[in-house]
Amino acid sequence: MSETLALHFQSNRRYTHVPNNRQTRESMNEKDTEIIRCILQGDARAYARLIDRHKDRAMTLALRMLKNRADAEEAVQDAFVRAFRALASFENKSSFATWFYRIVYNVCSTELAKRPSAQTLSFQAERGQGEDGPVLAEPVSEELPPDLEVEEAEFRAVVGESIAGMAAPYASILTLFFVQEMGYEEIAEVMGLPLGTVKNRLFRARLMLKKDVLMRLGEGSLAPGAQKENRP
């Protein structure tokens, strides 16, 4: 039975980004390190386990950046092959996930750079223009409609569509933060951006997401492509 999500949320589950996931991530890192050790000792077939552990989340990142299933799958495959080739140079300074998602991110960025200018315009923000400084104005907080009720599955779908419709720099940072459960430093490493830029961009992306979701819910329209003026 689907859970109803009202704005006076009665859910018992508490969301906290950092502490809940730390243990899981540490255990994942240990497992990854163990598999990598096996591969480097000659058991190349163990790489299949590493692929199975990361392929879905890598695909999520690639899909949200490239907005095209075939391109995303090709990018993920390319990233895995590159990672395998460079595995001997992996130094355990960061987790395998951080190292690998940086490869995925770079492959996708290269693919985006090849696309016509209309599609890459939004990606210019990737270079960090105008994002290094502090957030200039405190945005006005959204007024939440008091009578809004929505089923959780439907709410998830709206949020998913909203992120999928965002420009690559924002969609990717939200994916790394929420789906890959990365902290600011890891995101900075993956995206090759200064920490301040990461914080600012993530903040902007979350505000944009909230605004877009509220508009979609407020209008009662779940159609993708609605409220495009809110996107960069």
């Binding site: 704005l7 969301y15 190349a44 495959q77 979350r206």
Partner: protein, 184 residues
Amino acid sequence: MNHLTEEELLDYVDGRASQSAMRTAEEHCRRCAHCRQRAEFERSLSRAASVAPPTQLSEHFTERVMRASLAERRTPRFAWLLHNSASFIAMAAVLGILAAVGSLTGLGADAGPESASPYLRIFTLWSTASESAASGLSRAMQEMVKPVVSQTGSVFGSVFWIGVAALLLFGFADRLRMKFISTR
């Protein structure tokens, strides 16, 4: 009452705020329905955004990546052969031509001076010319080379040309295989 700023709210929801800031935000939310509602909405948004959408990777994705990765890994071994194939071919060609000429001219089949091969004639001329200086040495070389060439000429010719053909075929087949793997 001052509401929580967006930054304070997100830090509170994420659990990133300092202990004192967390306490302040929690206390504020207890008294302020508006901020409590905003915090709950942010939590729901975060939970929903944390759910990875179904990616529907194509069937046998892992196997395909494994094949491509392992093929990449093998490349240096095959590349070594391919990179050296020019030297192998050149060496084999020179030896093969020498051996084939030797076998076709029947070097050593008849010991008589009339039917001797060009090799033998050259050796004979050379040895005659240098007889006064180093007759002993040239005769020894002539004696050493003549039976070897005559007995193994045809065998060498066949072996080397088969080797050349096999090497070319091997290189071609490997390139085809790599192309096949990379396009799948």
